[in-house]
Amino acid sequence: MFYRETGDFKASYAADLQTFPIALDRYRFWALIAFAFLVVPFLINDYWASAILVPVLVYSLAALGLNMLTGYCGQVSLGTGAFMAVGAYTCYKLTTAFPELNLIVVVLLSGAMTAMVGIAFGLPSLRIKGFYLAVATLAAQFFIVWLVNKVPWFYNYSATGQISMPERDLFGVLITGPAATPEAKYLFCLAFVFVFGWVARNLVRGRIGRSWMAIRDMDIAAEIIGVPPLQTKLSAFAFSSFYIGIAGALYFGVYLGAAEATEAFSIIESFFVLFAIIIGGLGSITGSFLGAAFMVLLPVTLKNMMVDGVGPVWASVAAIAMFAAGAIAMHSIATASTWLRAVALPLALGVGALLGYGVWTVAVSGGLDTAAAKHFEITLLGVLIIVFLILEPHGLARLWQIAKEKLRLWPFPY
């Protein structure tokens, strides 16, 4: 069956407004959801849950939140880490103060609390714009982390200054604490991600989303055609912080189990989520998921390859991928230059081969130390950020879309 919209007629506006206008996409989406809920829980072990799946889900929520604010409403925030801290500490205070409170309610209230803090720090956004606002959110980042670290009430006067999540269950199944099973943690997070991913999609396609995008694209014109700027920006801050707060609560409660503000919610965390949406795609729901997955998988993959080594089969796969990426990148650079154009193809193949060989030698047996892998990861992230901003500001989501556009016409070129 070809990937087509031909024959898939829309007879009403409702049908035209669907998230996935192409039938095949719809089936595939529901198949994926069914797989995630019904099959994955039986496959995962502790490593997969705690090193990959749960963090991907948690960061997806945070990325969705930041994407609403930055990708859709155009307000850059460097305070994501601090807002996650607000969610985490609210979650901690609520679970310890009201042990009977349902865990779902706790998480939602953590989001609500963060939304209020977000609104407070969003208030300046009416008067200050762009990177000025970014500096203002830095104030939130440093101030909040300092506050929760300094006032003992926030960590219940514990001697270490750490907060640790007590054991809580949901319908008799342990969700938090060291005894909770990976399946329970995974499903709990997945449920939140599924519901709030769907809500995010609804928000951005309707009145609220259009107001955000109008403010993002041209704030003055938006105000003149009737979009109230303060209300719109504050709603973006509120929803964004709500999501980030939930992510923070899950990050602390389910994923980490114990946290210390200056370690777990530093500015590094803010950048982590910002990078996720840049790489995944600014202003894209799919992109938030792709970006979060990418950001979680990158260090894991690099560590596996550079430190532990992955054996000849996977090393070959990585080498071929590196060869392709290097060759394509070099080719586009060479064709843009006047004096390299003539040798573009051999140059691209040469550089690609060199890079591929390098990757193979490293990946096949590993052996580098962890610090080196970390430094390489930082460099690579920086390079990727710049490359994505230059070539494709809409990120992985856009690349995915382009691939689908091509597929829609394939095998005919027009």
């Binding site: 155009g74 008067r127 300094k150 003149i224 610090a371 430094h375 930082i378 950020i385 500001p393």
Partner: protein, 347 residues
């Protein structure tokens, strides 16, 4: 400033906030001068060391202003620039055993190469992008520089001894009973010289004038035959040089380490105070932040205790956020900074 006074309206929220702030400050000042049981010398010491630290902030802020004026880019990586330069300087000296002058010269060469690479691989491709995209690109740049620096030299704390004097200044200690680090005085002197040099450079040299022309209007500058690319390389090299000086000073003081780039980030609130396009603004903003931070660190706890009965020990280690919150409060009243141009919006 006159503009602020003219617009002052005691009935508006801004006016009320301003009155409250003034009363608060007066109360603090009263307490500070009359009720303080401590030695007044200590306050002077605090202010002096604040001023000296402020000079360092000004220095990093200068790098920001230069780049912002000439290319409209808000260079987040400026702080990491200083770290990067510090890493190379200490690396050349400690690992290769080069003399100070050679190490600094080589590091400067590295910074010029970085400027050329940045122009070639980043700026050129982002010329007409939104400022905010450029800003995020410089965050990427910061990561690249940090990663490369760490990969080459490792991420442990490094000693950097470029022969600057250390210990307390004897003259001040004996003559006035003030304890001031010699290193801080040296840093302040060097920063001041640098600031004067830069002002002269941009005012009186051909390249300096071209630089200001580009700042005023890219298109017009291009049409009279100024090469934007060359200008950018020069400006980023100068910013690299400023970062080198800052990196060496800080490195000499507390070792070359990652936190250096975070300290340098404080140049951002400095700029908000001073305005993004003003060199004097960067200097004065730096001094205000430096002094304000030191004073707040020492006296805010006591003042808060005096006024609201709060536990004074809560208000320690506020250096992390004080500058940002001060800048945020300032932004609300005067978004263009002390010396920045007034923003008139158009459609």
């Amino acid at each position: 400033m006159t503009d602020v006074i003219r617009r002052f309206n005691p009935m508006k929220a801004e006016g009320i906030a301003l009155i409250l702030l003034t009363l608060f400050l007066l109360r603090g000042a009263w307490w500070f001068t009359v009720a303080d049981p401590r030695d007044a010398m200590f306050a002077v010491e605090t202010i002096v060391s604040g001023l000296l630290a402020g000079v360092m902030y000004s220095l990093v802020a200068l790098g920001f202003v230069l780049i912002f004026k000439s290319s409209g880019i808000f260079n987040y990586a400026q702080g990491v620039f200083a770290l990067f330069a510090g890493l190379f300087a200490s690396g050349f000296m400690n690992e290769f055993g080069l003399p100070v002058w050679a190490a600094l010269l080589l590091t400067m060469l590295v910074m010029v190469i970085v400027a050329i690479l940045v122009e070639r691989f980043v700026l050129q491709h982002l010329v007409n992008q939104e400022p905010i995209i450029l800003f995020m690109a410089t965050i990427g740049l910061a990561y690249v520089l940090e990663g490369v620096g760490d990969t080459i030299w490792g991420s442990d704390v490094k000693v950097l001894d470029v022969g600057l004097p250390s210990g307390a200044s004897d003259t001040l200690l004996d003559g006035f009973g003030l304890y001031v680090e010699k290193l801080e005085i040296a840093a302040a002197v060097i920063a001041a010289i640098l600031v004067i040099l830069l002002s002269v450079f941009s005012q009186y040299t051909r390249i300096g004038r071209a630089l200001r022309a580009v700042a005023d209007d890219h298109q017009a500058a291009l049409s009279v035959g100024i090469s934007l690319r060359t200008i950018w390389v020069i400006v980023w090299s100068i910013a690299g040089f400023v970062a080198l000086v800052a990196g060496v000073m800080w490195g000499a003081k507390s070792g070359v380490q990652f936190s250096l780039s975070l300290i340098a980030l404080k140049a951002l609130p400095v700029l908000i105070l001073g305005g993004f396009t003003s060199i004097p603004g960067a200097i004065i903003g730096g001094l205000i932040i430096g002094v304000g931070e030191k004073l707040a660190e020492i006296y805010l706890g006591t003042v808060m205790n005096e006024l609201f009965g709060l536990n004074p020990s809560m208000f320690t280690a506020i250096e992390n956020w004080f500058a940002y919150v001060l800048a945020l409060a300032f932004l609300l009243f005067r978004p263009q900074g002390l010396f920045g141009d007034k923003i008139i919006e158009r459609v």
